[in-house]
Amino acid sequence: MTGLVQAIGRQGLSFTLELGRMGNFLLHACYSMVRQPGRLLHILKQIRFIGAKSLFVIVLTAGFTGMVLGLQGYYTLAKFGSEGMLGTAVALSLIRELGPVLSALMVTGRAGSAIAAEIGIMRISEQIDALETMALDPYKYLITPKFIAAMISMPLLCAIFDVVGIYGGWLVGVKLLGVNPGAYFTEMYRSVEWKDVWSGMVKSYSFGIIIAWVGCYKGYYAGHGAEGVSKATTESVVLTSVLILVWDYFLTSILL
């Protein structure tokens, strides 16, 4: 019994310690972003990696998400004779919820894991130590450019996801199932407000911070050897995905 209590206590302490270290890492990264945001070239390189190189997967998933929304939405709305509301249903689902969340999950799988692996390999091969021995701040060169790039890229990727998704829904709803094209867009314009767009952007912006935060943190504190990097990468993807979904719930309840 004492052993069980000790084990629970140990786990609790370890969890609290990890949480504190993660919080500290985020604060340090935010401080670095304000004080020494890094070179523009480094930030642009990261925008290319996190943003531009994620475009294909974002467009692909957005297209099919919109198409499936078109199908499911049509099926449901047809029961009430409201097929004309299909554009509204697709747009609001995408702009408020699916766009930010799915684009963030896609970027997590593609770029978040790569961020953790890259920094993890730099950690185990002593490249981060080399930076420190040169009296150069690793946050400035490795962490803040990734944070800034993720914060810039995510809202843009989310906007692209929304637009492609809406046209995916249009393709299925209008071209395949025969919904009135005028009704699809007119109802959408009438129902979607700037507040919806804004809340989606706020979400994707904060998801960008989560992706960079967890990816960089897990890589920065990666364990030893290839196994350490592999563990850091896996943990980064899992934790980022969970945090995105949890944070999405809280943010939605605030922004509604």
Partner: protein, 250 residues
């Protein structure tokens, strides 16, 4: 001068440094020798503040480096350079970019001046026409030479070498030792070398410290260490299989 006072360090239940005391004289080369896994690299990382001790103090030029803010620690680190075991070159950069990086970040030199400094530094370690190569395209010996050249670019007062010749063939090993000896004599920096290379290291170092079980077992000139009567030191130097290192005595 670097001074380590009553240094203790443990990783979990594993005690690595156990009340270690060591004074590294300025302007000379000190070698730290000892069996593998005894904490020689850990010792080196304490000197430059990459690790903090559980107990004890680390003094650089008479001032403690413990508890310093990052900016203050960076001021101390300006005096240092470190050559890592695997060179720790930035693998996403070419050799030229690796070399130019600290100059770009820490000096206001023009592009031409940086190019000249990089070329000179590479030439001094016997390398040329490798500017555009990536670290992955270099041999182990070439990487170590680039690491050494990068470390010396900013003309440090103290250079720490973490097993600079491990994994190299005898000829390259000797050439790296020669290089360290020559550059130390030329620039007059304080050098600390962690090494297993017995007896080669005795030709390079002015002093030798034998690390065993978290403490400095013996400190002296290469001659004193080579003629030591301590059974652990004798066994380590001779490479004998029989003795206190294997039996766990001493």
């Amino acid at each position: 001068m670097i001074e380590l006072r009553d240094l203790h360090k443990a990783f979990g239940s594993q005690i690595v440094l156990n009340g270690l005391n060591l004074r590294i004289p300025a302007g000379q080369t000190t070698a730290v020798i000892g069996p593998s896994g005894e904490g020689k690299s850990v010792l080196l990382k304490h000197m430059i503040g990459l690790l903090t001790p559980d107990q004890g103090d680390v003094l650089v030029d008479g001032s403690s480096i413990l508890g310093l803010r990052r900016s203050q620690l960076n001021q101390v680190r300006e005096k240092f350079a470190m050559v890592f075991q695997n060179a720790a070159l930035f693998d996403s950069m070419t050799v030229y970019e690796n070399m130019a990086f600290p100059l770009e970040e820490k000096t206001s030199l023009s592009r031409d001046e940086i190019n000249a400094r990089v070329d000179t530094a590479l030439r001094e370690v016997g390398l040329k026409e490798i500017n555009r190569k990536f670290p992955d395209e270099l041999s182990g010996g070439m990487k170590k030479r680039v690491g050494l050249a990068r470390a010396l670019l900013l003309e440090p007062q103290i250079v720490l070498f973490d097993e600079p010749t491990t994994g190299l063939d005898p000829v390259i090993r000797r050439s790296i030792h020669q290089l360290i000896k020559e550059t130390q004599a030329k620039f007059g920096f304080t050098a600390v070398i962690v090494s297993h290379d017995i007896p080669d290291i005795f030709d390079v170092a002015h002093q030798v410290a034998m690390l065993y079980r978290g403490e400095i077992l013996q400190f002296g000139t290469p001659d004193e260490i080579q003629h030591s009567n301590h059974p652990v030191v004798r066994q380590f130097i001779s490479g004998s299989l029989d003795g206190p290192i294997n039996s766990g005595a001493a």
